[in-house]
């Protein structure tokens, strides 16, 4: 397309100019051009939003297994959440370390001990383990803070069945 435009321009010079002598080079006039786009985006949130990016993944429990353990700093099976709020603001994080899991028929319980790692970067390996008491953290420049959720549960005396539970984490502005 650009080459075609150049040829048309050259022919016009010869036709209009006739035998008149033109000095110097004609430059410019090429239709060279480039069209492109840049996206613009923003995410508006209410106050602080907690978004679950991934639930904890438990593999099948083997007979004789005594404990299920997920390291929030190392294991890819850990759960992942993100807090979204005002960029650079300070937040307080608290959570209940121990939660009771109940079997689907309601007859059995297990106690799950949570371990949480947090980071203002989306980088599990450099996250720090959080204590269950309140701590002060800062949302990053994008207004984000990441959590990886793991923990342990002793299943030595557990009866076969499906156990369900939840995890509560509280995040608030300071």
């Amino acid at each position: 397309m650009k080459l075609k435009s150049l040829i048309i321009f050259t022919a016009a010079i010869f036709s209009i100019g006739g035998f008149a002598v033109s000095t110097g080079y004609a430059q410019g006039g090429s239709s060279s051009g480039d069209r492109f786009s840049i996206g613009v985006s923003a995410r508006v949130v209410n106050t602080i939003e907690m978004v679950t990016l991934r639930d904890m993944q438990f593999g099948p429990v083997q007979p004789g297994q005594q404990q299920i353990s997920i390291d929030p700093l190392l294991d890819s099976e850990s759960g992942k959440m993100i807090a979204i709020g005002i960029p650079e603001s300070r937040i307080r994080v608290s959570f209940v370390r121990e939660r009771v899991l109940t079997s689907s028929d309601g007859s059995e319980t297990l106690t799950f001990t949570y371990e949480i790692a947090g980071n203002d970067r989306d980088d599990q390996s450099s996250a720090e383990l959080l204590q269950s008491d309140n701590r002060n953290f800062g949302l990053n420049s994008r207004g984000e803070y990441y959590f990886w959720i793991g923990g342990q549960v002793n299943i030595q005396d557990a009866k076969p069945g499906k156990y369900n539970g939840d995890f509560t984490i509280e995040v608030e502005y300071i």
């Binding site: 080079y25 004609a26 060279s32 069209r35 613009v40 923003a42």
Partner: protein
């Protein structure tokens, strides 16, 4: 009598055919090579309802950077068509004001950037300050690279939560 003949000869048009060979070499400048150096999204991140004015300034890391490579001594015209607002839907919008600058001293250097001054169009020489060292293979005028910086302001009012988006359309051409 001789004098009259001499005058007549002088006034008579001199007839004759003259030819001149003509050869043009019209050179086109090399094609513009425009590259988005950054991620291609001017991202304001997470914002709160009623947060008000939110700015991405020239020197902020979120600023989008585009390189424009072309013949160093040519002028280019950059025309930007910004969205009036980022949109979630028809009734939820964030008004957007374009910010744009260019640097044409051969470096990707925001400190050398010249603002579009509120306009959506700017015309500038690809490289000010003389020809760059070297040139393209096969001769021809050397090329150089100018840099375009895109940023701007949005205003977050009482709008619904969600992801708002818009498109900046940019056209770069030799003047």
């Amino acid at each position: 009598m001789r004098l009259i003949i001499a005058i007549l000869l002088t006034l008579m048009p001199i007839s004759g055919t003259f030819a001149q060979m003509l050869a043009f070499n019209i050179e086109a400048p090399p094609e513009l090579n425009v590259t988005v150096i950054t991620d291609g999204v001017l991202d304001y991140g997470n914002l709160l309802q009623n947060q008000g004015l939110v700015q991405i300034m020239l020197n902020n890391p979120q600023t989008e950077v585009i390189s424009i490579e072309g013949q160093f001594n040519q002028n280019v015209r950059v025309t930007i068509t910004p969205p009036a607002a980022l949109q979630l839907d028809a009734s939820n919008t964030l008004p957007y004001t374009l910010g744009a600058s260019y640097a044409n001293q051969g470096e990707n250097n925001k400190g050398q950037a010249i603002s579009f001054n509120g306009s959506n169009v700017a015309t500038f020489r690809i490289k000010e300050g003389g020809a760059p060292q070297g040139g393209p293979r096969g001769g021809g005028p050397p090329t150089a690279t100018a840099y375009l910086y895109l940023y701007g302001d949005i205003t977050v009012g009482n709008v619904n939560a969600g992801t708002y988006s818009g498109i900046l359309n940019i056209f770069v051409e030799y003047e």
